[in-house]
């Protein structure tokens, strides 16, 4: 109905592999990009910096996790630790006087190097064991960060992050910080989009789907899992650094605890494994849900005249996460992204029932 596809033909292979061959998609992406660019103009700063900005950074982070989970099919329960490594590395680097641009790259590299240590566990075992070893490593990282004062800045301490400086200019305005987040999110997204059409992406999927079949066509599973872990950790590390730089402005160990790992996992699962738009949905859902739920509950509380303890309010969103994960796994294991795709397919073949070639 919305997607008109007649008359789309390609005269070379690169056009045939274009990211968005359907004009309606190109329009949509273009409009969304324009809206994103113009957001500081029409959106009030509160929404911009407390909703839109963290959403973008978390989306980038979730995409990194999706790379390892959805593409390479490797479980990762310690993603927050990886983000934390990046965050601490960037903060320490900038405090040491290293320019921010270089510091975030360093953050990514540090995360990638340490994240690859995680990978070594993954290279030896899979499934449950991988999950457990990444979980164990998350604990080790948590423990190390909070028990080594040189990293955390002392027990229970909060380490202030210096202002972001780009090419020597301090970026302090809400709009400026927002654009930093936007650029990073767009970069990660374009990387992931390209992953879908390159040899690397295909190799990762091959490893995920059938490792023996991957081996007979010459795919070295070991190497590609390592690449996946390193890349995902790089994205996670930089996302962590940017999250601190643009949103929290200070870093503490709790920001990257095991709960945060689970939150990131929930984003990917609720959003949908192995799809790009799903990470946007998942991040939005998980980030917005507690706020929306709390306002709903307080609204309901006043409306129906009951009161809930502060503890209840604090834990309800968590319980809801759990319920959501269970619900999605039972009803739509491929998450919101799959629902979106179903709707899209419904419209793509409209008015027919399915595509027949």
């Amino acid at each position: 109905m919305l997607f008109r596809q007649a008359g789309i033909f390609h005269t070379d292979y690169s056009a045939d592999r274009a990211l968005f061959p359907i004009p309606a998609d190109r329009w949509m992406i273009g409009i969304l990009l324009l809206l994103a660019l113009a957001a500081p103009i029409y959106m009030n700063t509160l929404y911009l910096s407390s909703y839109l900005l963290p959403w973008l950074v978390w989306t980038a982070g979730a995409l990194g996790l999706n790379l390892i989970l959805g593409w390479a099919g490797q479980f990762h329960l310690g993603y927050a630790a990886v983000m934390g490594i990046g965050a601490y590395a960037a903060v320490h680097a900038t405090r040491a006087g290293i320019p921010w641009e270089i510091a975030i790259v360093l953050a990514g590299i540090t995360a990638a190097v340490i994240g690859s240590v995680f990978a070594f566990a993954a290279l030896r075992v899979k499934g449950l064991y991988l999950a457990l070893s990444t979980l164990a490593l998350q604990f080790v990282m948590d423990w190390t960060i909070s028990h080594v004062p040189a990293i955390s800045g002392g027990t229970q301490a909060t380490l202030q992050a210096p202002d972001i400086r780009l090419l020597g200019w301090a970026v302090t305005s809400d709009a400026g910080l927002y654009y930093v987040a936007l650029v990073w999110c767009v970069l990660v997204t374009s990387f992931m989009l390209n992953l879908r059409r390159t040899a690397l992406g295909r190799a990762l999927v091959a490893v995920r789907e059938k490792d023996y079949a991957a081996a007979v066509i010459g795919v070295n599973s070991f190497y590609f899992k390592l690449v996946a872990f390193a890349t995902s950790s790089f994205i996670g590390g930089v996302s962590g650094a940017i999250l601190i730089g643009t949103f929290y402005h200070a870093v503490t160990p709790e920001q990257f605890s095991v709960d945060v790992s689970i939150q990131a996992l929930a984003m990917v699962i609720v959003g949908g494994l192995g799809s790009i738009i799903s990470s946007y949905f998942g991040a939005a859902f998980i980030l917005l849900m507690p706020g929306v739920m709390n306002s709903f509950i307080s609204w309901a509380a006043t409306k129906f005249g009951f009161s809930l303890g502060i503890e209840t309010l604090a834990h309800l969103p968590q319980a809801f996460y759990g319920a959501l994960i269970i619900g999605f796994l039972l009803i739509e294991p491929l998450g919101l992204g799959k629902i979106y795709n179903n709707i899209r397919d419904y419209l793509l073949v409209w008015p027919f029932g399915y595509t027949k070639k």
């Binding site: 592999r17 990387f191 390159t198 040899a199 066509i217 010459g218 690449v227 890349t231």
Partner: protein
């Protein structure tokens, strides 16, 4: 082109007294096999006779405990499967091993893996670094698609196409790697007569036009005698006959094993 021009008179594949045991059970015992360049070499035997084990020994999944396997004169015994693939060995599976979530095109493109340079940098900088590589390999894949007449299903998910076509897609993926040695594990299982004939034609064409040497594991005797130059018959991991198909098929030991095997299967 003489044999010498194609890299000497070394056989493409040679197995020297290959032995493989699984927890005490001898699955392969002293297998000697020489496959010459440009041959279509048949491998037959009743179920569980060690055909697939031999394939797995060659491709490195279960390296032999004793004996050697040489590819183009080079000892490949014990090399990792993915490394064996880069040396020019491709194979298909009896029960298909396609990547179901991908399109036919992407599956065949994966066959080009060893010719491509997948990397993070190239992916990130697709427009500058990866596009030409992707395009070149796509062209190679399209040659295979044309060769196996898969145009009409190119963009469909592998999941949704009929089994006969899936078998063809798997052959396409193997051929896309431009192997020098191709192992086909029962490529015609579950096919009707017409599809079988098509497949036989494709195998012959692949040998003639794409210079591959083929090891063909097959149950259908008519196929073996029809297109194989030489063959080897196995039973309980032992060689019970080898040579020109007409002779092997006439060998009483083979007949006994084969009919006996068929009997058991029934």
């Amino acid at each position: 082109m003489t044999l010498k021009d194609r890299g000497g008179d070394a056989p493409v594949l040679e197995c020297r007294s290959v032995e493989r045991r699984f927890s005490g059970i001898v699955a392969l015992n002293g297998i000697d096999m020489r496959i010459e360049r440009g041959e279509i070499f048949g491998l037959v035997g009743p179920n569980g006779c060690g055909k697939t084990t031999l394939t797995n020994a060659i491709t490195g999944f279960y390296p032999p405990q004793r004996g050697h396997i040489l590819l183009n004169g080079r000892d490949i015994t014990g090399l990792a499967p993915h490394y064996v693939a880069t040396l020019g060995v491709a194979r298909t599976f009896q029960n298909l091993a396609l990547f179901n979530g991908m399109s036919v095109l992407d599956n065949i493109l994966l066959g080009r893996h060893i010719h491509m340079k997948p990397s993070v940098g190239r992916t990130a900088l697709y427009w500058w670094l990866a596009r030409s590589d992707e395009t070149l390999n796509r062209a190679a894949v399209e040659d295979v698609i044309d060769f196996l007449q898969l145009e009409s299903v190119r963009d469909e998910l592998v999941d949704g196409i009929p089994i006969g076509l899936k078998k063809r897609v798997e052959l396409a993926r193997a051929l896309a790697a431009e192997p020098s040695f191709l192992i086909l594990d029962e490529p015609m299982a579950g096919m009707n007569q017409e599809e079988k004939e098509y497949m036989a034609r494709f195998i012959l064409d692949a040998r003639d036009e794409r210079n591959v040497t083929v090891l063909l594991i097959e149950h259908h005797m008519d196929v073996i005698t029809g297109i194989c130059d030489r063959m080897l018959a196995l039973n309980y991991g032992e060689m019970i006959g080898s040579g020109v198909p007409a002779d092997v098929v006439a060998d009483p030991r083979v007949i006994e094993a084969y009919i006996g095997g068929a009997h058991v299967a029934r």
